[in-house]
């Protein structure tokens, strides 16, 4: 085995491992499984078991159904090794003849990794209908050492599992003994099979079976021409077998060698080259230059996996797919998922109330007592007013609950918008996002999401949230402004004016500017609800307690500053609520989709991907070196099995 191939063996092994790693990583990309690629199968079935091993030759009898493959195989074996039947698609499993002691020197299971090996016991075994890919093997003393001869199932019947088994053997084989007939030489399935074999540069012997001699003597060159033109096969030997069922059954079929290509040496294509007896076929097989053929098939297999539609093609596909993911990810992250410009606001009075509560907690000593006295008067008046109001207008819902109801509407608005936006994404027709989005848009997801948000929304403690916010705000406010208590009194005047308009946008990745209050426009001031009336009354009580001096002392600029403060509380609260919704939507609607997309987009940057790229490059370089060292191996030129052109590789100038 040449040194280059030994090096390649290592590279190929590494490649194989890395490729399955990459496949795992790239599972999100939904690329066809590696197994479905011809080059990968070649890698697994031909290169992995055979690179770096000592040369042995795998010769397989292949062809369409019911054209005498097993007859020919039995002829090669010298006995009825595989059952023959007049019915089509009889042979379902592979039969393998190995030279004596082959099992000691070589591991058959490693050579045929995709088959279950079983000792041959009976020629009928191969007819067994079974899901398992069996290979029945036996040793045969009449074979040369290092030669395996195989019988294969058909390549064109309606039992497609047969095709698969034959394909596996085709990839492993070095020599194909192609059985053709005049009915099948131009069949599409047959041509497809042999076109692949030609690409893999197999060494091909053609046996034209069921020929009517001498009538067909003038036809077979035409048939062969068509076959070779269509498939690209260059058969090294050609035999004709007569249509003689009797002889075939009793294993006495004769094979007549013909020269091919006919027109090179012979002017008359039909001229008989020699009437050789049947045994000759087997001897011809034994006389093949094993080493050469082996090198040729391995070389071409390596070529195929490094060819543009081999591994590089796969990498390209991975890259393309991950680019698609990237664009899908970008699509999601650059477009707003929802824009909310009417998130409801807490009534001013409610905030004022919270501020007051906080403030009360700040007072100490007799001042607190005085305040409490006046406040209870204030609240007494308020209660009376409330009772009257209730009588007049029916019971009112508590303001925070009213806010909750309005907020629920905003939530619905948002969810509605998110869904129509997702629908829009779907209609953009990104093939990756479409199925995911369709699932998201379905009724079950919607119901779940809505239920979930509703539960969370109903259980949210708005009161506490608001209180905490006010406390935090006011604490900083107090530390910033020593005259805070004064400004506080302006609250009610300010409360009427402060109505920030807030618009909120949701993005998929990150929140974008979610919760950033955009636009500060004070709107209509006419908010005189029962609550704000109550606030006014209470404020009156406070005013009475502190006296009236402060009113004159406050400047108008102070009021504006206060107003900004007050608006900030509004904004912050809204922002808090909106980002709460955004977070819910993010986790419960989209889940890990954005991350998955981003991850899939990064695959071509992964070390595995890069390493495979590098290995393929070295492989190509090695192959060119080997080509230069051993220019175009011509089969039959060298007889030596173990000749190593390694020294030449070493001395090759770069």
């Amino acid at each position: 085995m040449p040194i280059t191939f030994v090096q390649c063996a290592q590279t190929v092994q590494e490649l194989h491992g890395l490729l399955s790693d990459l496949e795992q990583q790239a599972s999100a990309l939904h690329i066809d499984r590696l197994d479905s690629f011809e080059w990968h199968q070649l890698l697994e079935q031909k290169l992995l078991p055979q690179l770096g091993e000592d040369a042995f030759l795998v010769a397989a009898v292949v062809g369409g159904t019911n054209i005498g493959k097993s007859v020919l195989f039995n002829h090669l074996a010298g006995f009825r090794a595989s059952a023959t039947s007049p019915l089509a698609s009889g042979t379902k499993h592979v039969t393998c003849l190995a030279p004596d002691g082959f099992d000691q020197s070589q591991n058959l299971a490693a050579i045929f990794p995709d088959f279950e090996l079983k000792q041959w016991s009976d020629s009928e075994q191969a007819l067994d209908e079974s899901e398992t890919d069996w290979m029945f093997w036996r040793e045969n003393d009449s074979l040369l050492p290092n030669l395996l001869v195989l019988d294969t199932p058909d390549i064109d019947s309606d039992a497609r599992v047969n095709w698969k088994r034959a394909d596996k053997i085709r990839r492993t084989a070095d020599v194909l003994i192609a059985v053709l007939t005049q009915q099948k030489y131009n069949d599409a399935a047959v041509k497809e099979f042999f076109r692949r074999a030609a690409a893999e540069e197999k060494f091909v012997l053609v046996v034209f079976n069921q020929v009517h001699l001498p009538d067909d003597e003038s036809y077979w060159p035409l048939w062969m021409n068509t076959f070779c033109d269509e498939t690209g096969i260059k058969p090294q030997f050609l035999y004709l077998a007569p249509h003689d069922r009797q002889a075939a059954e009793s294993n006495e079929l004769e094979f007549f060698e013909r020269c091919w290509p006919a027109n090179q040496s012979n002017t008359n294509a039909g001229e008989v080259v020699g009437q050789k007896a049947g045994r000759q076929l087997r001897e011809d097989l034994s006389a093949l230059k094993f080493g050469e053929i082996k090198l040729q098939t391995l070389h071409s297999a390596l070529d195929l996996i490094a060819a543009p539609d081999g591994i590089p093609g796969y990498l390209r596909r991975v890259k393309e797919r991950s680019d698609e993911f990237r664009s899908a990810s970008e699509l999601l992250s650059t477009h707003k998922l929802a824009e909310i410009d009417n998130w409801p606001m807490v009534r001013n009075g409610l905030i004022v109330q919270k501020i007051r509560n906080w403030w009360q907690g700040q007072r100490e000593g007799w001042a607190a007592k005085v305040h409490n006295f006046y406040n209870s008067i204030g609240s007494g008046i308020t209660r009376g007013w409330k009772l009257v109001d209730e009588q007049l207008r029916g019971p009112q819902t508590p303001p925070l609950e009213a806010y909750r109801a309005r907020e629920w509407e905003a939530v619905l608005d948002t969810v509605d918008e998110v869904y129509s936006r997702l629908n829009w994404f779907k209609e953009l027709g990104n093939p990756l996002l479409q199925p995911r989005l369709e699932a998201l848009l379905g009724a079950t997801t919607r119901q779940e999401l809505l239920e979930h948000i509703r539960r969370k929304h109903e259980s949210a403690d708005l009161d506490r949230q608001l209180e905490e916010l006010v406390r935090a705000e006011l604490s900083t406010f107090r530390s910033e402004s020593p005259e805070w208590y004064r400004s506080l009194r302006q609250l009610d005047a300010v409360a009427a004016a402060a109505r920030p308009a807030v618009s909120i946008a949701l993005f998929v990745t990150g929140f974008g500017p979610v919760g950033n209050a955009v636009g500060h426009i004070a709107t209509e001031t006419a908010v005189t609800s029962a609550v704000s009336v109550a606030g006014d009354v209470a404020a009156g009580g406070v005013t009475a307690a502190v006296g009236e001096t402060w009113i004159s002392s406050t400047a108008s600029s102070g009021a504006a500053w206060m107003e900004a403060r007050f608006r900030r509380i509004h904004e912050q609260f809204i922002a808090q609520r909106a980002s709460w919704l955004a977070e819910l939507l993010q986790t419960h609607l989209l889940g890990s989709l954005p991350e998955e997309l981003a991850e899939a987009a990064m695959i071509p940057e992964s070390p595995t991907f890069q390493e495979i790229q590098r290995l393929v490059a070295t492989l190509t370089v090695d192959m060119t070196l080997a080509d230069k060292a051993n220019p175009e191996p011509s089969v039959g030129a060298i007889d030596n099995l173990n000749e190593t052109p390694g020294s030449e590789t070493a001395s090759q100038p770069t």
Partner: protein, 611 residues
């Protein structure tokens, strides 16, 4: 006309009727996407049926079918006993379809693309009622490229009525040929022939096994075409299976059988297509069902919510009830002292009511106030609201529209699941979602209004029976009588008998008036109380009744009518399908012809697309 023939004609009329119904069904655009797909499938079927119908009476077209080298051309030559199409040993031999017809057969009526064929006229008795089309093979072309045998074959086969499927020992399990047969056999009868009897072994039993699952195989002929041709040319009569085959071709495919065979083919195609459509649409059944469930669930939820609200509002405003019932009672009673008193009371009440109209918070209260005024006010208010654009709550019943919007969100999901147009749940263009709620609600209320009127009438009748009336009249008159008695006795007797006694002073009348006022207030109040007896139970039964009622308009009228259409179309499809099956049973063809057991519709369509 003989009965059998009449029955035959009737059958054919039914087949035509089926085709007409198919035509009708396949027209139009539905918001349900799967239905449109099925309709497209049926439309394609119809174009193929049309070509079949045109040549209903023309000679049957027998096409050869089979892998290359199976001796199709040799078989044709043997059948007509003349070497008319080239048979050979090079594959493929036949690339251009050869049409072999009797010189008297008019080819125009076959409606075939004659320019694509090579036409050969042979005056053989076999060809009296049929034409034979020798087709290229399906298995030498790897892909269906233009000009390839496969492409030619696929173009030609939909024009055929009977397939003469030839195969050999080598080829009978060839996957490509079997796959192609799947497509080719759509809408065809089949004849199976194993050729090469001279060299090959008889594999007919195994072949039958291979095909048996998908095809009805009455007979498989095992023939040697070459010998048969030679024998006939040397003047001998054909023997064995070949003679049987020839007999089948001449007798079973004779003119009388034509229409029947074609109808059977037509029904096969139709049945396959309809089965496919049913399957296609059936997949969406669960989605449609859950859509309907969600729809009715939300409708119920909304109605329930509204009736709950209705109940609470109606029970909240008892004075309005009182007013209405009082008015009702006074109209019932006509004039009497107590009735006059009540009228006075209700007159004052009406004044209050008209004031309260401006304060009425809800449609329910409006319904109570009265239909006329209320409706006018409600419409005015709705108009005002739609103009207003955004408003916080649709306050007529106090139901906020988030219920409707939740329903819309969920139904939107169901629409996507079931393949319906999502726009069906979207609000009407230009109509605010809230208005939709309002529309729903006003329907709900107009239902309620009638019931309120009924309830008032009932309450009024029940609580103001003649005894009650007499009792109250008596109590009222008792006071008046007492005062009159006192005043009369004083005036007519006491002052006359005892001069010391003075005529009752003014003070007496003032206090009498005062007590009269008090007395009548007590009476009226207790009467009103009595009137309201049973009101609460009346309200709750009414609210429950209204909730039970199915509102005609529904929440999403477009969607609901779309669903109705879906059901109708599905139903019609089922009907046509069962008709088709029944007819299939009735149109019996000769038992010596094979046919596919179950066509799959993809093959029907792929075949018809190449028409």
């Amino acid at each position: 006309m003989p009965d059998a023939e009449l029955a035959q004609l009737e059958l054919f009329a039914q087949v035509d009727e089926l085709a007409r119904r198919l035509q009708q069904w396949s027209e139009g655009e539905s918001p349900w996407q799967p239905l449109n797909q099925s309709r497209a499938l049926v439309r394609r079927l119809l174009t193929r049926l049309e070509t079949m119908r045109v040549r209903l009476e023309a000679p049957l077209v027998i096409a050869t079918f089979g892998g290359t080298g199976t001796g199709k051309s040799s078989l044709v030559n043997a059948i007509v006993a003349v070497e008319c199409t080239k048979s050979g040993r090079e594959r493929p031999t036949t690339t251009c379809p050869v049409l072999i017809a009797h010189s008297e057969t008019e080819l125009q009526q076959l409606n075939l693309p004659l320019e694509q064929f090579e036409v050969v006229r042979v005056d053989s008795s076999v060809l009296r009622d049929i034409v034979i089309l020798d087709c290229p093979d399906p298995d030498t072309s790897e892909t269906e490229t233009s000009g390839s045998n496969l492409e030619i074959l696929r173009r030609v086969l939909p024009h055929c009525d009977v397939l003469l499927y030839a195969s050999t020992q080598q080829k009978y399990r060839s996957a490509r040929v079997l796959d192609e047969l799947d497509v080719a056999s759509a809408g065809c009868r089949l004849i199976f022939v194993q050729t090469h009897a001279d060299t090959d072994e008889d594999i007919r039993d195994d072949w039958r096994k291979v095909l048996g699952e998908r095809y009805k195989i009455p007979d498989v002929f095992f023939v040697d075409s070459v010998t048969a041709l030679a024998e006939q040319q040397s003047g001998q009569r054909p023997r064995g299976d070949f003679a049987k085959l020839q007999d089948l071709l001449t007798t079973r495919l004779a003119a009388v059988q034509r229409i029947q065979i074609r109808r059977a083919n037509l029904l096969d195609l139709t049945s396959a297509t309809l089965t496919k459509c049913r399957k296609q649409l059936g997949e969406f059944d669960p989605a449609i069902t859950s859509l309907e469930e969600t729809l009715s669930e939300h409708r119920q939820k909304l109605t329930r919510e509204m009736s709950r609200e209705l109940k609470s509002q109606l029970s909240a405003c008892s004075h309005l009830w009182e007013q209405r019932i009082l008015t009702q009672v006074t109209t019932l009673w006509g004039s009497s002292p107590f009735s006059a008193l009540l009228r006075l009371h209700s007159g004052l009440g009406a004044l209050l009511t008209s004031a309260s109209l401006y304060r009425a918070r809800s449609g329910a209260q409006l319904a109570l106030i009265g239909a006329m005024q209320g409706t006018r006010w409600l419409t005015a208010r709705q108009k005002e609201k739609s103009a207003e654009g955004r408003f916080e709550e649709l306050a007529t019943l106090g139901i906020n529209d988030s219920l409707v919007r939740e329903a819309r969100l969920l139904i939107g999901g169901h629409l996507i699941d079931s393949g319906m147009d999502p726009a069906l749940a979207a609000p009407q263009p230009g109509e605010d979602a809230r208005l939709e709620t309002a529309r729903f609600e006003s329907e709900f209320l107009s239902n309620a209004k009638q019931r309120i009127d009924d309830a008032i009438e009932r309450l009024a009748k029940r609580n103001s029976g003649i005894i009650a009336r007499l009792w109250y009249e008596f109590l009222l008159l008792l006071f008046i009588g007492f005062v009159l008695f006192r005043a009369g006795r004083n005036f007519f007797w006491d002052t006359v008998v005892d001069p010391l006694v003075k005529v009752l002073p003014m003070d007496f009348y003032v206090s009498a008036g005062l007590f009269f006022g008090l007395w009548s207030v007590i009476l009226v109040m207790s009467f009103c109380r009595r009137l309201k007896r049973g009101l609460n139970s009346e309200i709750s039964t009414m609210a429950d009744d209204v909730a039970q009622q199915k509102l005609t308009g529904g929440l999403f009228p477009d969607l609901e009518s779309a669903i109705e259409n879906v059901h109708r179309d599905r139903h019609r499809l089922e009907e046509m399908s069962s008709t088709c099956h029944r007819l299939q049973g009735n149109v019996a063809t000769s038992s010596e012809l094979g046919s596919p057991r179950q066509l799959n519709a993809e093959t029907v369509v792929s075949a018809s697309s190449s028409d």
